[in-house]
């Protein structure tokens, strides 16, 4: 042996040995605790990379202003009247759109190797995914607040009051959370973050535009009307609109919960399967 490595800093070696000495391990965290730790990580990422909030803040503002003033006069006779109709829809559109970033960030974690570190830990396995989605819920809430506050400034007057608006946002966050499992599945099965975005866009554009967000489906040809009326986003918009304006029915909310249940039942196990035996 010719290379005797110089000690980097005096005393480092002792500290290193001391740091390596403890072999006791604390008790494993439970599923909820582990998920919350991953949720904390998602919040830290928002703190360090605030740019990722750009889509959360800019999208809603642009969409709301653009659609209200572009179509309002033509579709409803006045922009203020159209705003009452379109705002709940815009809210649904922006929040469901930003769910796509779940898949993209997840895919980046996988390709950077962060994921393998987490997967090699003895923690409840779905915690990584559940925690990331928890962080996303914060983003959805933030985006919702921006839309509602801006809407009120522009003249949006929800008849359902504060409670109606809060319930509408809560329902939307639950739906978005369920929808995110699709992007999680995509994020784990596609190769690059870019391809995740492309595929997600291909799904989200028809899913959000071919709905009752902008116009009454009665004005559409029958075949489009048929698609729109089975689109779960349509049901979500109907329920959110109903909650905000105080005209909601149990059936409207029931359809949304059914859609959430189906999404989670199909995509959560699929995502967990991909996560567990990746490749």
């Amino acid at each position: 042996m010719t290379t005797t490595s110089p000690r980097p800093v005096a005393g480092t070696d002792e500290r290193l040995r001391a740091a390596l000495a403890p072999r006791t391990r604390p008790e494993r965290p439970g599923p909820l605790a582990a998920s919350l730790v991953f949720g904390w990580r998602a919040l830290l990422k928002i703190k360090h990379v605030p740019e990722q909030l750009f889509d959360v803040t800019a999208f809603p503002v642009i969409f709301l202003l653009m659609f209200t003033y572009l179509f309002g006069g033509a579709l409803s006779g006045s922009t203020s009247e159209y705003l009452q109709y379109v705002l709940p829809g815009i809210l649904v559109m922006t929040v469901t759109m930003i769910t796509m970033y779940t898949g993209m960030t997840l895919n980046a974690d996988v390709s950077r190797g962060v994921f393998d570190r987490f997967r090699s830990l003895p923690v409840w396995r779905p915690a990584v995914l559940a925690g990331a989605l928890l962080g996303d819920a914060v983003r959805y809430t933030l985006a919702s607040m921006i839309v509602v506050v801006l809407g009120v400034l522009l003249g949006f007057r929800p008849e359902g009051g504060v409670v109606g608006v809060l319930l509408a946002v809560a329902l939307l966050v639950v739906f978005s959370y369920s929808l995110s499992w699709i992007w999680t599945t995509l994020g784990l099965s596609l190769r690059t973050p870019n391809s995740v975005v492309n595929v997600s866009m291909m799904i989200m554009f028809p899913a959000t535009f071919l709905t009752n967000i902008f116009v009454d489906p009665e004005t559409m040809p029958w075949w489009l009307n048929a698609f729109v009326s089975v689109n779960p986003v349509t049901h979500l918009v109907t329920a959110v609109r109903g909650l905000m304006h105080g005209t909601v029915t149990a059936a409207q909310v029931g359809w949304v919960f059914l859609a959430c249940g189906v999404l989670v039942a199909v995509f959560a196990p699929l995502a967990m399967y991909l996560y567990g035996g990746k490749e």
Binding site: P8, A19, L20, P26, W40, R41, D116, S120, K278
Partner: protein
């Protein structure tokens, strides 16, 4: 536990297929607890894939493996509780600071808030990263990055640590720091499986080495045994006066008892020998005969030569023989 309890890793016929490529094609391994086991091979030889299977990140397509007595498929959770993985495919979050990364992992291991911070602080201190604690990991230098990666792997000191190419791309000083960390880990009783493309690194750290190529283990033994398997080292001599080369050649051949070769340099001679006592005698005979020697070196065969002899191609472009004792 069982009769194999002295084995940290035992693998039989491990296979992993990606599409049409058999990335790992029947790997057998028996790694004892304690010390460093070197896993050596060029890029794409199947090192990382094997490690990922042993660390429960990939499901084997064939064969069986037990890590610390637990089956990597059926008892994956038990394996995960006792091993840790660090390297190119298991890294920390670049967006978070060094401190946040370690606190995050400590909390996932079950430390409470204050305990997690204390443990993270202790590790940052031990790895010389206190000043960088509050910076995002993406701003770290290569050496710091590797240290935080390793620190992340020992938030709870593992019984077995997989280090996947821990010094790839590091400068010599950072590489030495990583080597010191590995030695300290071993001293504290952690077994280490280290993959590397650097033959020098395996030579420095590993007690035993397996050479892998095209998804198969093609040789295994101590670094010394592997070197011995390709033959002896060589004595290289450079004379001051090239005119006396024939005379020197005869003297050296007599003293060493092996054929002496002339190098392309008209003053150079070399002979294959591993016997340093005989080499010393041969050199003193040269000086007795009044033949001045400018320089000499007794080179041991490097693992590069081992790799070349085993596979018929060099492991990487680099020095063929490391001069161990140069005058």
């Amino acid at each position: 536990m069982n009769r194999h309890s002295d084995l940290a890793i035992e693998a039989e016929g491990l296979v992993k297929v990606f599409g049409r490529t058999r990335a790992v094609d029947g790997v057998d391994l028996a790694v004892r607890t304690g010390g460093v086991f070197g896993f050596l091979g060029p890029n794409g030889a199947g090192k990382t894939t094997t490690i990922r299977m042993l660390a429960t990140l990939l499901r084997p397509d064939g064969g069986r493996a037990r890590v610390l007595g637990h089956d990597v498929v059926r008892e994956a959770d038990a394996v995960r509780g006792r091993v840790s993985l660090t390297g190119q495919f298991a890294s920390v979050d670049e967006d978070l600071t060094g401190l946040e990364n370690l606190v995050l992992l400590a909390r996932l291991f079950g430390y409470r808030r204050a305990g997690a911070r204390a443990r993270a602080g202790e590790l940052l201190d031990a790895f010389g990263l206190v000043e960088a604690a509050g910076r995002q990991v993406r701003t770290y230098s290569g050496g710091m990055r590797r240290r935080i990666d390793i620190a992340a792997g020992i938030v709870v000191t593992p019984d077995l640590m997989f280090l996947d190419e821990p010094t790839a791309g590091l400068d010599p000083r950072s590489r030495n720091q990583v080597w010191d960390i590995v030695r300290a880990l071993v001293d504290q009783g952690t077994s280490v499986l280290l993959t590397t493309q650097y033959l020098d690194e395996a030579d420095q750290l590993a007690d035993r080495v397996a050479v892998i190529d095209h998804g198969r283990v093609i040789a295994e033994g101590t670094p010394g045994e592997l070197k011995a398997s390709v033959g002896s080292g060589a004595l290289h001599v450079r004379l001051r006066d090239p005119g006396r080369r024939t005379e020197a050649e005869r003297l050296l051949a007599g003293a060493l008892g092996v054929p002496v070769r002339r190098g392309p340099d008209p003053a150079a001679l070399s002979a294959r020998t591993f016997d340093s006592a005989r080499a010393a005698r041969a050199l003193s005979e040269l000086s007795d005969a009044g033949i001045a020697v400018d320089q000499f070196a007794l080179g041991r065969p490097s693992l590069d030569e081992v790799f070349l002899a085993l596979t018929g191609r060099p492991a990487e472009a680099g020095e063929a023989v490391r001069e161990e004792e140069a005058a």
